[in-house]
Each structure stands twice: as C-alpha cells, then as structure tokens.
C-alpha cells in the first residue's frame, strides 16, 4: 500500500494472507479498507508503532487510530506486542483490539490483564466474520472516541 505511513488509521497485524484478504474485504463493506496498513509479524508491528527498523521514517507521534492484533504471529508473538504497546507511555493510549481464532480463556485473561481494549474471536463462517469485522471496524473508527 502506497500511502502516507503517518496517516494510517487501522494497523492490521496478521500473518495469514488469506485472513488479511478476508478482513480487508469485510472492512471494504464499510469503506474502511483504504485506511488500513498491514504488517505480517510481531517484529514489523513493533517497528511500525515505535518508528524503528524499516519504519524509522515514521513519526511516532502519529500512531494509528486502532490496532487490530492477531495473537499467533511469527518472530514476536501478539501478546508480546500488546505488552510492549501498553507499557510504553507514548503508545499505551492506542486502542488495541485482539482479533484471534483462539477461544482459550487463558488468552482472554492475559490480554485484558495487559490492558487490551477489546477481544474478538474470529468466526469461521464468512458471514459472521464479515459482520464481526465490519462492526468492529465501524465501532472503533466512527463511534468510539480515541485520543487521536
């Protein structure tokens, strides 16, 4: 995506390209797709948010409006990313929505104790998936008021 990296509204952290495609399609339904930037692992996510590594050119003072975070990521796991975001003064106010296949209560507990703003389970059926994603997107982008 060629867009201004400082004008990203939704940061999508997802390693599965199919899920990325389905998610974007869902967000398209509410015209939210063009504000999405995707990173495919935990390391990239952190670099993006903290303006490091390949994203050193970014301005850290222009974070995304919301981060959609998958838990199962290569390199750095979703939980670690969450931890990092929520423990840094500069970034902890960014809303993080964990969107994952996991139903494990352990995961839910841990995420909330780390300060996640919302926890969504990815439905298998596409209709439900689309509804969930578009509802979530709509909520965080339109209805919810965030810092930025």
């Amino acid at each position: 995506m060629t867009q201004d990296l400082n004008e990203v509204e939704i940061l999508l952290v997802e390693d599965n390209p199919n899920d990325v495609e389905l998610t974007l399609r869902a967000l398209k339904k509410n015209n939210l797709a063009n504000k999405v930037y995707t990173v495919k692992d935990g390391e990239e996510a952190i670099n993006f948010i903290f303006a490091a590594g390949q994203y050193a050119t970014r301005d850290v003072n222009f974070p995304p409006k919301v981060i959609f975070l998958d838990l199962k990521l290569p390199k750095v796991s979703g939980l670690e990313v969450l931890k990092k975001i929520k423990s840094d003064e500069k970034t902890k106010t960014i809303p993080v929505v964990v969107i994952t296949s996991s139903q494990e209560t352990q995961d839910v507990k841990e995420c909330y104790s780390l300060g996640v703003n919302s926890f969504i389970q990815k439905p298998i059926e596409f209709d439900n998936f689309v509804k969930a994603i578009s509802d979530v997107g709509l909520y965080w982008m339109v209805i919810n008021k965030s810092v930025r």
Partner: protein, 601 residues
C-alpha cells in the same frame, strides 16, 4: 484371657493340685497312723499300770484274807476277847507287820469299832477313822477297802476283814498302808515321754472327783479335794468306761489324747494321757516340712512358668508388633526370629511375606509415579493439541468459507446452477466442520476442567437458559413450563451447559410440531434429586437408548435434525463428574424425557 495368663493358670493348676492332693493324703494317712500308734501305746501303759495296781492291792487282799482265816489268829483273838490279855495277839500283829512291806499299822478292832490292839499303841482306844471317801463294799469273802487321806493330802489305804469263829463275829483285822503306795505307779513315766502321765481318780460321797496321786504338772500331794480333777478323761473313766479319747482337754486345759480304765474292785478311774502336741509332733514336723517344700516348689514352678511363658509368647508378641506395623502403614518392621519352633517358622514366613509386600508396594509406587508422569505428559500433549486445534484448524476453515463466499458473490453471473450448488455444498460442509470442532473442543475441555462447586439455583438457571434459547428461535411456538427445582451443588458453568444442551435438544426435536410442549420438573429419592426435561417432539426408539449418550452417536440424519451428536455426551460427562447419572425415555413421534440425577446437597 491372654495366652500368657492361660498358660500360667494351667501350669499352676496342674502342678499345684497334685501336690496339694498328695500332701493332704500323706498327712491324713500319717495322722491316722500316728493316732493309732498313740492309742496302742497308751493302751499298753494303761493295761500295764492297771495290772500293777491290781497286783499291789491283791497282795494285801490275799494276805489279809489268809491271816483272817488262820486258826492261830482266831484263837488268839478269842483269848484276848475273854481275858483282855493282848500279849499273844500283839506279838502276832507285830510279826504280821514285819511281813508286810508298805504296811504301817496292823490293828485289831472290836465289835464296837474301837481299836483294841495295834502295832501302833497311839491309836489304841481311838475310834476308827471314818473317811469321807466311800468304802469299797465287801462280801463275806472280800475285805473292805477304803482310802484314808490325811491333812497334807497323803493317802493311805485301809484293808479290813471281819474275823469269824464259825458264825460268831470276833472283831476285825485291819491293815493301814503307808502313804501314797500308788505313787510308784503314777510317778513312773517310762513310755510317756515328756508330757504323758497316769492319773488315778476317785469320786467322794458328794460326787466330786479327785486325783489320789500327784499329777505330773501340778505336783501337789496326792489327795487334795480340788476341782481340777473334774476333767473329761477322769470323769469318763469313772463313768465306768474303758475307751480311747483321741482329743480332749485335761486339768491344765491342754489338748490331750487319753485312754481311760475303770477299776471296778477299787471304784477307781485310771487315765493314761499324753499331750497331743507331743503325740503328734512327728506329724507336725512332717506337715511343716511339706509346707516348706511346697512353697519352694511353687516358687520354682512360678519361675519356670514365667520363663517358659515369656519365651513362648515373646515371639508371638513380637510378631503381633510387626503385624501392627503393617496396618499403620509401616512396612519396614520385621518380626524377630528367636526360636526354631513353629512360631519361629511363622515369624520367618511372615517376614518373607512382608518383604514381598514391601517390594511390591515400592514397585507399585514406582509404577504409579511413572504412570502419573505419563499421564501428565499426555495431558500436556492434549492441551497443546486443543490449543492447536483452536487456532490452526480454524484459520484454514475460515479461508475455505470466506473464499467460497467471495467466489459466489463476485462470480454469480458466471456460475450455472450446478456451480452454485457446488459452492453451497462447500459452505455447508465448512459450517458443519466448524460446529464439530467447537463441540470437540468443549467435550475435551470438560475432561480437564476441575469442578468449582457452589450452590446453584437450578430453577432460575433453567429458566434463563430457555429464555436465551427462545431469543435465538423467535419464530417458534413453545409452551414452556418449569416447576420449582431443588438447588444443586456443583459447577454453575457446567450445569448451565447441561441445561443448554437438553433444552436446545428439546426445542430442536419439537420443530416439526405446531406447538412444542416442553416441561421441566423434578423428583427425588433417598440420596439424589432427579431433574427431567420432557418434550412432545420426535422421540426415539427405546432399543437405541444406550446409543444416545455416546460421542457422535445420532439417531437421525443431519438433514432431518442438525447436530453433531456430542451434546448428550457432554451432558453425560458433566453429570457423571458431579456424581450423578443420566437417563432417557422416549416413544417415537410422541416425545422424550431426559433426566439426570445429582446428589442431594
């Protein structure tokens, strides 16, 4: 009673009783023998002394009889009576005196009873001394005999014989003996040891009994009127009986054995007696030594028994001690093998058994440990598996469903009916697989999750679940009736799952009926509360009722009634975990009743 006591008592009795018995018999026998001995000894002496007395008396009797019949004497007495010249008669009397030992005075008595001639001139002219003591009666042929006590208690014996000239009385001839001629009889203690004696006793006119010779222990002079002669042996003797009295008391009050004799010609009693202490001294010595021996023997028996009992029961108690160790959980104790007898063998066998037990116990513990480790590993693998399933199986499914939808949405114009049908089939299968995965995960999670027990209000829980389900099925017409249910004690979340599964089944299988009638009620027995969900739906054939609660078992096709066949298996698992059981009854096309029991709170 303890074995030790038993053995002790047995030994004691079997060793003691014979001893006591034998001792008793022995003493008894000896006693009887001794009594007989004493009797015969005393009798011998009594006979001997009786004979002696008779000898003494008869000597005088014969002499006086003889002299009283001598013509010389008679003519001299006649001469004196006529002439009063006592010269001849006096000489005769003196020579008689000389011829008689132990005679003190020989006298002639006249018909008036006066002493007219005597060897002792001092008694001439005096009246005859009348004794208080009875006179031994005479016949014409026998002299009279009586006893003359003086003031000092010395006794003389007087013999008198009437002198006859044919039938004319001339007077009386009189002998008076010296004092205490019987003393030599009674002072002879030969054969009478230290306490034996011969007593001679007579009765006076008043009936009082007197000893006429000194007694061995109260050496007063012969005749003294005293009461101490009134004792049984003497009295018995004067009752004219000749007997052996084994036990009586004498004038001292001491226990004696006595033989009595009645001398009829003297009206006198003779008693030969001896102290029982002395007579039975041998047997007393025997008894004492037997007692000492018995005592020593008893002590010996006691010690032997104690030792024996100890050596016998010691190993038993030791064995008992080791056995107690086992049931308190200590398998390391062993019994001491102290002897080569049966108990020793038992102890050894017991020890071997304990060794085996201990080894097998340790072996088992090891096995359990291994098994536990295996199980823990297994569990961990399962957890990892579940987690993996949660994540990794879902994602591809999502892709399948999503992209088939995209295919359908974006390429509908290019698809014919067959194409659309194929896509629809793909999507339906995906949906089914998704449900299956969810059910499987729930089922597996149930096995691992521990129950968090609390008090659960079953009525409100059932009603809440139904309301939620009704909300998800708004178009259905359902007549729902829930009675007041007893509270249960269990995991609220799991019990909710039970209601969800049962009530959703009821709703599902009544979908072909116009009005579904679902009733929830409860009963109870002694230990459990039983909850039932009844519906008027499709029911089932009772011959398949065992299959109902199996995993993935269904009695209908997925087209007829959707579902994977895990719902009831989940219910069964949850209820079993709570200590209850499940049941089902049904009639095809009429309805079914599913019930589960839970232990009473």
């Amino acid at each position: 009673m303890r074995i030790r006591s038993k053995i002790f008592v047995i030994f004691f009795i079997t060793s003691l009783l014979p001893i006591i018995f034998l001792t008793y018999i022995n003493l008894n026998f000896s006693q009887n023998a001794l009594v007989k001995d004493t009797e015969s000894e005393l009798e011998t002496i009594a006979d001997l002394q009786t004979a002696n007395i008779h000898t003494i008396i008869n000597a005088y009797k014969n002499r006086i009889n003889f002299l009283a019949a001598r013509p010389t004497v008679l003519s001299q007495v006649t001469t004196f009576n006529n002439t009063k010249d006592n010269t001849q008669i006096k000489n005769t009397l003196n020579s008689i005196l000389l011829s008689l030992p132990d005679v003190q005075i020989v006298s002639l008595i006249d018909l008036q009873g006066n002493v007219v001639v005597s060897t002792d001139d001092s008694v001439i002219g005096k009246k005859q001394f009348i004794s208080q003591l009875p006179v031994i009666k005479v016949t014409k042929d026998t002299p009279s005999i009586d006893f003359l006590p003086d003031n000092d208690g010395n006794l003389k014996i007087r013999f008198r014989k009437t002198l006859y000239d044919k039938t004319t009385k001339l007077g009386e001839l009189e002998f008076i003996t010296e004092e205490n001629i019987f003393n030599k009889v009674t002072n002879n203690y030969i054969g009478l040891k230290k306490t034996g004696e011969v007593d001679l006793a007579i009765k006076d006119n008043a009936g009082k009994i007197f000893f006429i010779t000194p007694t061995r222990f109260k050496k007063t002079a012969g005749y003294i009127p005293s009461t101490f002669a009134n004792t049984t042996p003497s009295a018995e003797a004067l009752k004219k009986s000749n007997t052996f009295i084994p036990e009586t008391s004498d004038y001292r009050g001491k226990a004696v054995s006595a033989v009595t004799r009645y001398l009829s010609d003297l009206d006198m009693g003779l008693v030969v007696k001896i102290d029982r202490d002395e007579a039975f001294q041998p047997i007393n010595e025997l008894r004492d030594s037997m007692l000492i021996f018995s005592f020593i023997f008893i002590l010996f028996v006691v010690m032997v028994v104690l030792f024996f009992v100890h050596s016998l029961t010691g190993p038993i108690i030791n064995l008992l001690f080791a056995a107690k160790g086992v049931y308190t959980g200590d398998l390391s104790k062993r019994a001491l093998v102290l002897s080569k007898d049966e108990i020793g063998e038992l102890s050894a066998s017991f020890n071997t058994m304990l060794d085996a037990l201990q080894a097998s116990h340790e072996d088992l513990e090891k096995k359990v440990e291994e098994r536990t480790k295996q199980l823990e590993t297994s569990n961990k693998d399962l957890e990892a598996f579940s987690y993996s399933v949660s994540h990794d199986l879902r994602a591809p499914l999502r892709s399948i469903d999503g992209f088939s939808q995209i295919l359908e949405e974006d390429y509908t114009p290019k698809l014919d009916d067959e194409g659309k049908r194929v896509i629809a089939t793909i999507r339906a299968s995906t949906k089914q697989m998704a449900t299956l995965i969810d059910d499987l995960l729930t089922f597996s999670r149930l096995g691992r999750k521990p129950i968090e027990a609390q008090d659960v209000n079953m009525t409100s829980l059932a009603k809440t679940v139904f309301d939620e389900l009704k909300l998800a099925n708004p178009t259905r017409v359902i007549q729902f009736d829930c009675a007041e249910l007893p509270h249960a004690h269990g995991d609220a979340a799991l019990l909710k799952q039970v209601w969800v599964n049962l009530l959703s089944n009821a709703i599902k299988y009544t979908k072909k009926k116009e009005t579904a009638i679902i009733t929830v009620a409860s009963t109870s027995d002694n230990n459990n509360n039983i909850y039932c969900v009844k519906d008027n739906g499709a029911g089932f054939d009772m011959q398949y009722k065992d299959k109902l609660f199996g995993v993935f078992q269904r009695l209908h096709s997925a087209q007829e009634f959707e579902g994977t066949g895990v719902g009831l298996a989940i219910v069964s698992r949850i209820i079993t975990k709570h200590g209850g059981s499940v049941r089902a009854e049904g009639v095809v096309d009429q309805g079914a009743t599913f019930s589960f029991s839970l232990p009473k709170t």
